[in-house]
Symmetry: C2
């Protein structure tokens, strides 16, 4: 039930296209996966996602474990059935949220109180301060309950500015947990229904990243993730780390760069050999009024759009190309749900469309040209190596 | 451009069906009109409204005057073009909001500070406390800017528990303003593009209601509204007032009962000869988790729905009949936009469908039977006269 077929490998970069076959369907890579954090990609219906070009989405173990709980979702037939999504789902392990949401924990005394052991991590719910434990055993159990096509190991995502000593400790714990997760996967899961991706860590230290890449690649998994990037380090450092890691990963395995999703980051990391991406950015930005056009990120709340009759989007779906910028600005100023919906759909469509153009360019041996051409208009970022 | 053709008059009640022809299209009556308060029916797109069966919607002069202003909307080609809605629109005059939102006014000093004169009403914006004036002249001007098919006169909507002395004053002011509004309508508007409805007032005093009905009917307008009901008085009193007013209205004029929208109120007032209704209830209730089924109003946040796999809706549109109650409950608990969307669509569909059934029953001489049958299942209310 799991297969990854490389369709086209670029001759001039590590960019490639492929077809990822998963129990719930095929996915064309490179792919962008939107986040259905709490069993819903914010503001969109499953059918709208399909129509916009979504092939796979991500669910969050941390949030779903806290509410409504993975046990409830299992009783409802798994996450696919619960949220009426019949295409593939990838779930994260919840590790990232345990670390990133620790400062949001209810009750000041409990703030920052994470208890890390070789067995896992004890944390307090950001909702009600209740105590929870994520271990290799139970993050696999939770993801089994959710029934995702692709599960992730629990890892420790160290901040991009971490000192080396901590980076080493976090990496070693991540490796140790990965081994235990695979043991649990073999005990608990049906390998025809779910696969498990381990995660490369190592902060921004080249030697750690190489060591981690080699260790993770040797685990013999179907696919591999790269974590701990886009977490505070400069863009060029992120790209450098991907450049360092990718040559040590078996080419036949799909490569997933976690939490990455600006247009330039998608292009730059496809160029460096990444096949899969996820990010909350397109829908989160939308809810704050931000949208993409061919020159970069804009904000519709800007006064200059007050009387702008030009369409908010080029997308012909759902009448998106019929709404004026002036109208969407009014909706966002009034906090009307339709405003967030229009911008969320537009931003997702923009990224799905970008990925489609990227795949087509790679397949036709003109990805370098596509990349160069993209940056002639894009004002938000220009790579050093163009 | 304005025509009202009665298709069928019931022999056993005042219920009737008709076709209302307006500049932006035909409307089958009796009709329920959802509220697009701030140029958006909350959470829905125009296309979704059409697909659910919406034939005409309501825009709010008060809200649109404050933001984005009617001048901006006029520059954008009017409300139809601004919000991409090409079917008919009715706008209220803003009077109701001036009175009902006065306690929400920003700045404690300005609270309740309405200045009423024969010329109009001076009020403070609930958004920023800025001073505004609604007069017959400018509410017509604003509605001309909006470009609605049906405009409303400015009226004074007295509370359902008002004493008679105030009820008389408010009614007289409403009549006086109605005359001035028609003068302004003749000066400012194109009668082929916009029509103006005057409003019957009189609180719950039968003699005042009759006096007001006669006065308003004599104005010679195309249609007539009944205001000041469903504002705190008992249900049976509301129905009684409609019973008192309707015989004094010319039968060829469409009759619009303002701000009414529970299922039983729709049925009871159609029975009493009403042709048009509007209410924020279906979408407002939805955002608080309430939904209708054939037995009455329910709330999805109720614990009993936690593991309920039955569909939230019978509506086959937008996959509404595929979502389980358990899933929608989860979405609402998590404040996910999709939850409010599903319930808003369901509630609107429920009312549109109810009105469709009502029209069909009247046309087939079986509305009394339909009404009787409806109350055998409906648990929220039973009329006295069944």
């Amino acid at each position: 039930m799991f297969n990854f077929k490389i369709k086209k490998q670029s001759n001039t970069s590590r960019a490639r296209t492929g077809v990822l076959t998963l129990p719930h369907g095929e996915v064309q890579t490179p792919i962008f996966m939107p986040c259905g954090t709490k069993a819903s990609v914010k503001s969109l219906s499953p059918q709208e996602l399909v129509d916009l070009g979504c092939q796979i989405l991500l669910g969050n173990t941390y949030h779903l474990h806290l509410r409504p709980t993975s046990e409830l979702i299992a009783k409802m037939g798994g996450l696919h059935n619960f949220m009426r999504w019949d295409k593939p789902i990838l779930t994260d392990s919840g590790g990232f949220q345990v670390f990133s949401l620790k400062d949001m924990t209810t009750g000041s005394k409990k703030k920052n109180k994470l208890k890390l052991t070789e067995d896992g991590v004890e944390f307090y719910s950001y909702i009600d301060g209740s105590k929870h434990m994520f271990s290799p055993k139970n993050v696999i159990g939770i993801q089994k309950n959710l029934g995702s096509d692709i599960m992730m190991v629990i890892d420790e995502c160290a901040d991009g500015k971490s000192e080396k000593k901590y980076a080493i400790d976090a990496m070693n714990r991540t490796h140790n947990w990965a081994l235990k997760c695979f043991d649990e996967y073999k005990k608990q899961c049906d390998p025809n229904k779910q696969t498990l991706f381990p995660i490369v860590q190592g902060v921004t230290y080249e030697d750690l990243r190489i060591k981690s890449a080699k260790f993770i690649d040797a685990l013999g998994s179907f696919g591999i993730a790269i974590g701990g990037l886009s977490v505070g380090e400069p863009k060029e450092t992120m790209y450098k780390m991907v450049d360092v890691v990718v040559p040590h990963l078996s080419p036949e395995k799909p490569r997933y760069l976690m939490g990455v999703g600006t247009p330039e980051d998608l292009i730059e990391n496809v160029y460096r050999g990444i096949d899969m991406f996820d990010c909350v950015l397109p829908t989160r930005l939308a809810r704050h009024g931000a949208f993409y056009d061919e020159t970069g990120r804009k904000n519709i709340l800007n006064k200059k759009y007050e009387l702008d009759e030009s369409p908010i989007s080029n997308c012909p779906l759902f009448g998106l190309n019929t709404y004026s910028k002036a109208y969407v600005r009014h909706l966002m100023k009034e906090k009307e749900i339709l405003g967030a919906r229009i911008l969320s759909m537009h931003n997702l469509w923009f990224l799905f469309n970008l990925m489609e153009e990227i795949r087509e360019a790679i397949n036709n041996d003109r990805f370098d040209e596509f990349r160069l051409n993209f940056y002639t208009k894009w004002e938000d970022y220009k790579p050093n190596n163009l």
